[in-house]
């Protein structure tokens, strides 16, 4: 019995006898021919984009996000909205108008268009979120990277971290805004002054995880200084970690501002923000519900779309998802 079946034949009865003697000539060996790489060329950011855009929910959320951002930063340039403008306060016809073709989101007690108010408020809220996130991320990554490679700094920083993370952030913000006074930049300062520690700590953990990997030992034997090991070998591996951090802190800073303004701490009286609008209109929740719900919906759309887009970007920037 044959170990290998039918397919094998003794060579003579080939089906393809168009082969000639010339086909059986020896060929010289090109030893580099097989060194060519046949795997498709891989680009990290290209693969990130491909993975990111392959998700339909993400694209929908991204569209919402772009509309919200666009409106927040462009519409106020034309609307001339001012929170303190009380020009129409005595124009009874303009006050408390329900949403209509003229006033899409209706008007409030001062006769101001809610549509204008929401975009002006969203601009402030988003700006605070973005600026705070940038500050926290930059400081957090830099400090975390140093923290992760230096044993001396680690000992000190751990103590600092343990003490400060045990103080409620709300307490710090309230104390800060009473001492510094209310205002846009004061609020940004109050919100970021300690929260970068959280980012720094998580970066530290990852740096410590990667720093003793063999490829870093290899760099050390090549005489690479620690600073370059961090920037060239470790931080590039943390892209998805950093994107995750950003995608979490952006919506959370926005919500935080809303919460603070809602309880009346933080921004100065003349700065419109989503939090202030929600605070201001909460009394109309039953009488003129549109005044309360439109800002809440705007806030929800911004934070949810930011969160989902950010999480999917973080997933996409993890090379393991690139298969």
């Amino acid at each position: 019995m044959a170990d290998v079946p039918e397919e094998s034949k003794s060579g003579n009865n080939m089906t393809d006898d168009q082969l000639t003697a010339a086909d059986f000539q020896r060929v010289d060996l090109d030893s580099l021919a097989t060194e060519k790489i046949d795997t498709p060329k891989y680009s990290y950011w290209g693969s990130v984009a491909k993975t990111f855009f392959s998700n339909k929910v993400t694209i929908a959320m991204l569209a919402i996000l772009i509309v919200m951002l666009g409106m927040s930063f462009i519409q106020p340039l034309f609307s001339g909205y001012s929170l303190t403008d009380v020009g129409k306060i005595n124009d009874l016809a303009a006050r408390y108008q329900w949403p209509s073709a003229k006033y899409w989101f209706g008007t409030d007690a001062d006769g101001k268009s809610l549509f204008d108010a929401i975009w002006a408020g969203a601009r402030t809220s988003i700006s605070i979120g973005v600026i705070s996130t940038v500050i926290v991320t930059v400081i957090g990554v830099v400090v975390g990277a140093i923290w992760g490679v230096s044993k001396k700094i680690d000992r000190v920083m751990l103590e600092v971290y343990n003490v400060i993370t045990n103080i409620p952030v709300l307490l710090i913000v309230i104390v800060m805004s009473y001492t510094l006074g209310n205002g846009f930049w004061n609020l940004v300062f109050a919100m970021t002054v300690t929260s970068w520690l959280g980012t720094a700590y998580s970066i530290r953990v990852y740096v410590m995880m990667y720093r003793d990997r063999e490829y870093n030992t290899a760099s050390r034997t090549l005489g690479t200084p620690t600073l370059r090991i961090v920037t060239r070998n470790i931080l590039p591996y943390l892209t998805s970690v950093i994107v995750t951090q950003v995608s979490l802190s952006l919506p959370s800073f926005i919500s935080y501002e809303v919460f603070l303004s809602f309880v009346g701490v933080g921004l100065s009286q003349n700065t419109p923000s989503l939090g202030r609008l929600i605070n201001q209109y909460q009394t109309f929740m039953t009488s003129y519900p549109y005044l309360f719900w439109f800002p809440v919906i705007a806030l929800a759309l911004i934070t949810i779309s930011l969160y989902i887009v950010g999480q999917n970007l973080a997933d996409a920037s993890d090379p393991r998802t690139h298969m």
Binding site: I37, E214, T224, P225
Partner: protein
């Protein structure tokens, strides 16, 4: 340590080296009483199974692991313990390492160009950007990679190609000593010969000295001049390669040799496996040490065993 040479130049000299991890009660001695010399231009192999301490010695030589006692002298300079930063940096260039796992030892987020240039950048070993790129391209050709792959990432290469990237980045530094820590054990059979031949080629061309670490004696016969067998942190036998293969004395070396697979069906059928039992040694009163039993051939034994080994050798000679 060598029988017949007074003019051989010693590149690396290890004396009474011990490496201990941890301290106090939890202290763990990884290696102790390690003594050997490596001569210029030779391949010295350190063979032992996992946990024998062979990689610990390698890392101590590279200055990655701190040593607890003894000395490591490299080209006449003591290189273990605290060193001035400048000296450390200049020695780091001269001692390079080839790693076992080509998948774990390359930075996945860097191009081949950066990986091979990394050492050049650190020591400014080039005149201009063009000079650097030429050097890298030439090195890639030497290890059989295509220069057009300069901007590829490591994971696009096969295991054997990655290992050649690892060799390229070490050898572009023009080191005097290369520590090769099991450089072929993670590779396929068909690729191993390639890497061994490549290492040999560089040795012949540039006179590089190798400290070659392996767990398998079959591999080192071809590449080594001398072999040290290490078990549980102690060197049990040192000899020239052919001497070790023909006259292994320590029972552990014999066990290692008997475990080498025989690639011949007829012979493999009646091959006997020798199992080493450490209980055969009685070192309670008669303490062992590394004894030069034949010129250049050292065995770890006590007085009683030494007498036994000598009588065995005499019997074989007759």
């Amino acid at each position: 340590m060598l029988a017949n040479g007074s003019e051989v130049e010693t590149v690396l000299s290890i004396r009474d080296l011990a490496v201990t991890y941890g301290s106090g009660k939890s202290a763990l001695t990884a290696v102790e009483h390690v003594n050997f010399d490596i001569h210029k231009g030779e391949t010295f192999s350190l063979v032992g199974e996992s946990g024998s301490g062979k990689s610990t010695i390698a890392k101590a030589v590279l200055g990655i692991n701190p040593t607890s006692s003894g000395s490591i002298n490299f080209e006449g300079t003591k290189i273990n313990g605290k060193l001035p930063q400048k000296l450390r940096h200049s020695i780091d260039r001269k001692i390079q390492m080839i790693f076992q796992d080509p998948a774990a030892s390359l930075n996945e987020r860097a191009t081949v160009d950066y990986i091979i240039s990394e050492g050049l950048y650190n020591y400014h070993l080039f005149d201009s950007e063009e000079d650097r790129e030429n050097k890298v391209r030439k090195m890639m050709e030497e290890v059989g990679l295509l220069p057009e792959q300069l901007y590829r990432y490591p994971h696009e290469f096969s295991g054997g190609q990655r290992q050649r990237i690892g060799i390229a980045r070490a050898l572009i530094m023009q080191p005097d000593l290369v520590v090769a820590d099991e450089p072929i054990s993670a590779l396929d059979m068909s690729i191993r010969a390639q890497v061994l031949n490549l290492l040999k080629k560089f040795q012949q061309e540039a006179g590089i000295t190798y400290l070659f670490i392996a767990h398998d004696l079959s591999v080192v016969r071809y590449i080594s001049d001398r072999i040290a067998v290490i078990r549980r942190g102690r060197i049990v036998e040192v000899a020239e390669t052919e001497e070790l293969f023909t006259h292994p004395i320590h029972p552990y070396t014999q066990a290692l040799l008997s475990a080498v697979p025989v690639p011949d069906p007829k012979l493999a059928q009646h091959k006997k496996l020798i199992v080493y039992d450490p209980k055969i040694h009685h070192y309670e009163n008669d303490k062992p040490s590394l004894v030069e039993i034949l010129p250049g051939h050292f065995v770890y034994c006590n007085k009683e065993e030494e007498a036994k080994y000598r009588s065995e050798l005499a019997a074989v000679a007759n």
